[in-house]
Chain length 334, copies 4
């Protein structure tokens, strides 16, 4: 596994994420009309979406399913040899499933599970997005025209997964996938690992593993999309309020990551974060920042404290979602 | 007319403005799809529009006409008696035309012209906006749902009119309408009045009169719409660029008014400003700020200098618009 | 009394506010180093302060006293005759105290109390601020150089006063002072007036009266200072956190006023709001917006709910301040 | 040399940059009082500075010299072996100078020149910043307290160097240092390389080489510092204007990099950019974006066009700086 003296980055970035929803039409309304994403393809029970700044053709797959949650989580490697190295490492753990011909938007991928059971994929070949004439940007270096509808999310940022054993999953992510550990929440005098935030490169985190307080497996805490400015997060709050989208927390500033965020629930029930700012980790000898009970506090630097549901609720839900989750969001009449 | 020791404010605010356009469909696209205004009514060759924060049912009337320019400019008074006082004052100037039954959205109005010939109206009775269910805001104090499309202008702010004799029009506005003089640009050792900015109350200016360098009469320099944040102006620049809307100047900060702005041309040719920030004039003994050649500089505090077209171009145009005005803006395919 | 058919605005704006503090040095550090205000004069136990955008020489008087709270609240009229009219009206209520020679920064003023006992003044003559060379702005229309230290508040905006009988004080403010009623919170089927927000002109409110849940008199809920951008409020939160200033609520968006805010406690114990955005009331026939229990909700449109202390705590304090109020803020070592 | 099939990132990030100034006191005022950087050390004719978000003890060395310009430019590697690999590669080019014991803040470094003669260094060992108590942040993951004075730059972002032969320097940077080519401006049907932007990882560019129109060698075009929000750039413009700092261009948005910026001259004459937003390059197969004459346009996406001085002026200056560069900026009297 990685030579400590020689950091190797085999994972390039978080690739496609698949979200499951029992309300596909309403969820599509949320991602397209409210968040401003673009639907590029549909196939079977799935619609493939993208942010205007994503380089890949698609980064979010929305699939109808009985329960909300995360389907697969795909990682892109920096090269073909890097893919081979990571597949070999995964196979050594016994968590590998096998090769697949790939999904819409990317080529052959190797399927596996993390120790908690979340379904994952790793691949290198990807279909670069080529915008149709009507969606071509006037900026040569922007893959797609900036949308003027809704929140206007730019690209996928990260996701947070719940699990039974944070340490086991954190070790898998760092030792087998080669991610770097950025921040941790560890309680009870360093004996209880509550959460670990990891990334392949300078982005603060691409995945977080957090303890599932319900003791369940394979659940999604939230999926996070990037926008460029904090004002856009404030504007998102207005848009959510005006369109019946439930805001769970924020706008506020995290203490870990320093990012500015708002959490809402898409109509299918998955928690979605709109996220910006924060900091890049450019230094190669960054020391993992560890927060204990007192340092972590309420999980925010300032602004709205995270509510109880932030700890209790995840998808698929252990029980019915909190009463204040709108079950029938108003569908935009346009 | 106004007792100097006793300031009386008879004009409440700038009311409805009518813009003329030779390209009504394209202009409507600009105001509705790009700026995010709402069309509430159409009648004859006109469409009636509003910003989400306007209290009146309509504040912008868009009328098909052979040439771009401003149709009528309507002022609302603070009361019925105030209307009577102002009408009497206007009639004493010989510039009155007479009473009209009013247009869509407001009641009886008195029509007149300013000394330069711009057609104006003054009225008190107005139709308050009542949003239909689908456009009702979740904020009790907001007349209409915040739009999540385009720039999202909130309300009318002001307009700037060109004229042959700034002094004559400024005196009419202050002495007959009762507006207050806020800022002036006066060149050639105080002998040449280039522009005067006036308002009825704390808003910095609701109308400006600026010298027409072409020596024409009755022309419009720009019509200005308010948004709440400077970030929204920056976002507007992106939206304009991506949709083929010509940006003439900005985003920048004015020196007079201190406001942050961007000027674009709507497809019909009228110059439209998106405007925010600036300052309120709350003090009752505000001293008019006068800028001479050196103080005025390029007309900006920082940022893009105003180009030559900003001085030369107005509607109706003296000649063909500058070559870089898009003649065929891309129509949003949605 | 004001003729209903003829709205007359005799009050120009909220003038000087005096805050009392048992910790004058620490409070001065808060207003000067943290908020970025300028100290222009000191006399006796008082220091006179101003924001860079205030037209008056001073708008905030900070006075050493055994307990925190508000000293006097001064209103400026639009003219001398307006002052005479308002004094006559006040005298008719029996709440008048008498003329005084005025304080630093303004001329003769008439002293009185509102029905709840808050000490007030009304005046017209005021000393316009003339910046010394080192504080002169490069903008002709800005009274003072924009400060590059701390939060950078621009000007006084409003204050909120607690009282035993909101209706009595609201009637005094509207009928005797001539303010206009903008928004109200009324509970128990319209029988219990919780709060009323009023202003002299387009500014949303210059004073609010809110029910004192402790049944005390003459207390201050908060004093509010304006800054130009919501980003400045977010930046203020960082500055407060880094300098040990207690943040009670926000950054969030109010539902009434639509403003974006953060509440902190200055070291003397007074609650100070940093405030921006919101809306202007330009329409002369604005209908007071009334919020009942369900519409008012937690008092925010989105973001951090207002905590219990927001209802319970005011100055002078009924009991010791909440435990989380820093008693010894770190003094800036510069 | 880098194996094409196996991208290896040996350079972690741009490390310390040394700027030369003939006006050390005034330049120090600019970086400390106006930009809000912290001076951590002084030695000989140099002062060592840092941004509040920099991990290294110092990232900017300001050295008195007869002429403005860039002293050395130091690159940090990801590890010791990476350092050895890069030194070997540099030595093969004949551009190496030799090992040095290192400067304040970092350990042994290898000195060399780029083909154009700019002095460079490469190192791995670095002194992590440990804030003194008074400068400790309340955020565990922030190296230093957020400053509340001036512009508040967070960290070094990049620099742009002028050179006689862009291709030669671009090849050195990509082939010998291992940077990746992100964007280029190439004129005259692809025959004339005007500029090339490169980075080691996801940051858009850490160095740009641009053709020196004066045909000189070793010059600096600009040094760029990051702040978190576009509003902070607008605020910087106000601060520059109020303090006599010359603004050459912006606030505007670049077309290449998509970043939002303002360029000013520090009193010593070096061009300094305040920079934010833009985009990260996370995809491993990013295709270099190439701009020709028509695509590049005026070099901005919107906003103020870049003036002639932006092409003509660099440090050391070929001739006297433009007349509008303030020679004696007002020194902050505090």
């Amino acid at each position: 596994m990685p030579d400590i003296a020689e950091p190797i980055q085999d994972i390039a970035h978080l690739g496609q994420v698949e979200l499951l929803t029992p309300k596909p039409a309403e969820s599509l309304w949320y991602f397209v009309d409210i968040l401003g994403m673009e639907a590029v393809h549909s196939e079977g029970q799935s619609v493939y979406l993208r942010g205007y700044g994503d380089y890949a053709t698609t980064t979010l797959k929305l699939t109808e399913a009985p329960d909300a949650g995360v389907g697969h989580i795909a990682w892109r490697t920096v090269s073909g040899p890097a893919l081979a190295r990571r597949v070999a490492a995964i196979e050594r753990t016994g968590l590998g499933i096998g090769w697949s011909n790939g999904d819409f938007g990317h080529g052959a991928c190797y399927r596996f599970r993390d120790p908690d059971g979340h379904e994952m994929e790793i691949y290198y070949d990807e279909q670069r997005y080529e915008a149709p004439e009507s969606l071509r940007s006037t900026l040569k270096n922007l893959p797609m025209k900036f949308p003027s509808r809704g929140v206007g999310v730019r690209r996928t940022d990260h996701l947070a997964l719940l699990c039974r054993d944070v340490g086991a999953n954190r070790r898998f992510a760092t030792e087998t996938l080669g991610l770097k550990l950025r921040e941790q929440v560890v309680y009870e005098n360093g004996t209880k690992e509550i959460g670990s935030w990891m990334s392949s490169g300078p982005v603060h985190h691409e995945v977080a593993y957090v303890l599932d307080v319900k003791g369940m497996s394979g659940r999604l805490h939230h999926f996070s999309l990037w926008i460029d400015n904090r004002e856009d997060v404030l504007r998102a709050a207005d848009i959510f309020m005006e369109n019946g989208v439930f805001i769970e927390a924020g706008p506020s500033k995290h203490n870990n990551s320093q990012a500015f965020y708002i959490y809402s629930y898409e109509p299918g029930g998955n928690r979605i974060e709109i996220y910006t700012s924060g900091f890049l980790i450019l230094t190669p000898d960054f020391e993992t920042v560890v927060w204990d009970e007192s340092a972590r506090g309420t999980g925010v630097y300032w602004g709205a404290a995270l509510p109880d549901s932030f700890l209790d609720y995840a998808t698929p839900a252990a029980e019915a979602a909190p009463g204040d989750v709108p079950v029938d969001p108003v569908i935009d009449p346009r």
